[in-house]
Symmetry: C2
Subunit: 430 residues, 2 copies
Amino acid sequence: MTRPLSVGIAGLGTVGGGVLRLLRDNADIVAAHAGRPISVTAVSARDRGRDRGVKLDGVRWYQDPVALATESGVDAVVELIGGSDDPAHALVFAALRAGKSVVTANKALLARHGVALAQAAERSGASLAFEASVAGGIPIIKALREGLAANRIRRVAGILNGTCNFILTSMRERGREFADVLAEAQKLGYAEADPGFDIDGVDAAHKLAILTALAFGRAVRFDDVHVEGIRQVSALDIAFARELGYRIKLLGIARRTEAGIESRVHPCMVPENSPLARVDGVYNAVVAEGDFVGRVMLEGRGAGAGPTASAVVADLIDLARGRTAPVWGAAADGLSDAPSVPMSAYVGAYYLRLMVLDRPGVIADVAGALRDSGVSLESMLQHGRAPGEAVPIVLVTHETRESQMRVAVDKIERLDSVLERPSVIRIEHG
Amino acid sequence: MTRPLSVGIAGLGTVGGGVLRLLRDNADIVAAHAGRPISVTAVSARDRGRDRGVKLDGVRWYQDPVALATESGVDAVVELIGGSDDPAHALVFAALRAGKSVVTANKALLARHGVALAQAAERSGASLAFEASVAGGIPIIKALREGLAANRIRRVAGILNGTCNFILTSMRERGREFADVLAEAQKLGYAEADPGFDIDGVDAAHKLAILTALAFGRAVRFDDVHVEGIRQVSALDIAFARELGYRIKLLGIARRTEAGIESRVHPCMVPENSPLARVDGVYNAVVAEGDFVGRVMLEGRGAGAGPTASAVVADLIDLARGRTAPVWGAAADGLSDAPSVPMSAYVGAYYLRLMVLDRPGVIADVAGALRDSGVSLESMLQHGRAPGEAVPIVLVTHETRESQMRVAVDKIERLDSVLERPSVIRIEHG
C-alpha cells in the first residue's frame, strides 16, 4: 500500500467530529476504496479541550486555520468552518493557491465565490471537491458532474433544506401552524435558534445556485436566484392543498427555457403522487431531467454528522485515487454566460387563497380583477356559507405570467371585501 | 483542447445506435465534460446496411469484433454485444489484455466472470467500466463505488428489471392476470418474445450479483444468488396485497448478516408507503443503507436506448478525464470471501395464500400444520362463506426461518381441504 493521504481538518464541530469518527471506524473500507490509508495529521478548531469522542494524540493543532492550509505535511485540506467570509474564504483560497486540494461542505462559499475558486484551482492544478455542500450524503454533485454528464439537462428540482421539509411535513401531518411547529423543531434541534437562514430559503438558494451551475455548465450566480421562504405558509393552505391533491414543499428549481435559465426557491404545490411530494421529514431529494436519461431522482438524508461525513470522506477517497474533475464539471473559461430569466417572466399555474367577506358579488369582483389582468381561471372553491363573515376562497389559474399575476393580486388585495393579502403559491409538476 | 478519445463500438443494436446519436447530438456537452472530444473511429456490427440514423462515413468497419478490440487506433472499446459467452467474452478480455479500457453494458459477463475481468484489467492497467449494466441511466455503480464508498453498507435492495415492474404495475392497476399482461407487454415491446430471462428473475439476478460485489467488497458470486421470478404471482395475491397495505414487487436484495451475505431475487410484499413500493412501470430504483449515510435511494429509467447511452457515455467521459477505479471499487486481491447465506437460513415474515374447501376444521388443520413446524401466525383473513366451495385464506406469519416455512407449506399442501400449492410471498420492509 502506498503512502497515506495526509489530511488537515479545519473546523471540528458536529460534521468535523463525524469525519474523525468515520475515518476511525471505517478505516479498513476507506483504505480499500482509496487504495491507501487516509489519515488526519493536522487540525484547527476553537476549543482544544472539547471531547469529540476521538483521540487526537499526535495530531498537530493550529490556532490559525490558514496556517494549517499551507502546512507542508498536509496533502489535502478539509474546510468545515462554513460561511462565505474569512476565515473559511482565506483558508480555501490559500490552500488552492498552495496547490493543495480542498474538500468542503461550504455551500455559501461555493455559491458566492464559485468562479474565483474554480480559477484558483485551475491555476495551481489543485482540486476542489464539495459533495457535502448539497443534500448531505446524497451523491448529487457527483451524479450531475459525472454520472449524468452526457446529458443536456432540462431541469433540476429539489427539496434542499431538511429543516423546512420537517416543518412542512409536521404542519401537514398534525394540522398545526408554522410558528408552533418551528418552536418545536427548535426544541428538537431540527431548527437553529436563529432560523432565518433555513426558513427564509437562503440555505436552499445557496445549494440551488451550485446545482444550477453544474447542471447547465454556467458560471454560478447566487444573486440571480429568486428566493422565498416558508414563513407565509399557513395550516389553512396546507389543508386546501390536500383537498386539491397537492402537497406544499419548499423546492429549489432550475430550468432551461428559450429565454435563459430560471433559478428559484419558493413554496410549491406539487401533485401528491409526484416523487418529490412523498419525500417527507428531514429527507432531501433532487430530480434531474436530461435529454437522454429522462428523469432521475436521488433521495436521502440532507444533513447531520453521519451523512455529511459520508460525503466529505467520499471526496477524500476520490482525491486519494487521483479521481478529479474541474470544479464546475468543465473548464472555468468554457462556462456559459446564458442569461438568467427574471422572476417576472416566469410562467406557470398559481394557487390563490383569499379571505373575503361572504357577501353577494365578491366572486364577481375577484373574477373581474383576474380577467382585467389577463389571468385565466381553472377552478374555484368555496366551502359553506357564512353571510357577513370571513371565509376562504381558493382559486387555481391556468398558466400565467408572474408579472400579470402580481398585478392581479394587487388589484384583488384592494377590493373592499378582501380582508388580507392573498396567499399565492406556485404549482409545480414535482 | 487535447487529442480526442478514439472509441471503437462493438454492437450497433438499439443501445449502440443510442450511443452514436448521443455522441453526435451532445458533442459539445460531452467534450466540455470530458475535456476533449470523444469520437467513434471504428465499429463492428452484423448488418452494415441498416440505417441507424447516424452517418458512419470514415468510420472503420470490422467483421470480427475481437479485431476491433485490439486495433491500434482505438483508445477505448465499447462492448454492446451482450451475453457471457463469445464473442463478447473474447472481445472484452482481448481488449483488457491489450491494455485498452472497456465500457460495457454486459451484466451477464460481469456477473459470471467478474473476478477474472478485474484481474485482467489490473494486470494491464486498463479500466473496465459498466455503469450501463445495472439500472440503465441511474448512476448506481458510481454511487456505490465512489459516492457512498466511505460507508459500511448493510443492505442494498432494488427494482432491477423494468419488464417485471411494468407487468406487476399493470396487473395491480387493472386487476388482470399475469399471462394477459405479459402478452400485452410483448405487443408493446416491453417484454421479449422469449421473456424468460426477465420474468424468471435471471436478469435481475445478474444485476444483483454486481451490486452485491460492489456494496460488500466481495468477489462476485452469481451462483449464490437465490432466484425466483414472477410467473406465480396472481391477480388474487395482488388484490390481497392491496387489502393488507402492501404492493408486490420483484426485488433484488443483498444484506449483510452475522452469518454472511444474503443475495436473493424474488417477489416481495412491500409496505405501500415504502419508497420502493411507489416505483411503478418501467422505472428502476435502488436503495442502499450505509452506516454513516443512512438510507439513500436512486430512481430512474432502467432500460432503453437513451438511458443506457447516457450511462455508456458517462463512463467514456470518465475515461477521457482519466478518472478510474478498480473494477469492484477495491483491488481484486483484497476482495473479501465472506460466505453466502443459503436461502434455507433466511429469516423473515411470510404471506401465505391458500385455496381451501370451505368446511369446518380447515383453519384448525392449517394452524396445526404451522404450529407443528414452529411457525407463528400474526394474522389470518378469510372473506365471506361458501360452504363446500373453494375459498381463499390468507395468513401472515411472524418472523420465520425459510427451512421451517418450507416444511410447513409441504404439510399444508398435503391437507385434504387444500386444493392447490399455497402461494408464498416474503414480506420485505422496502
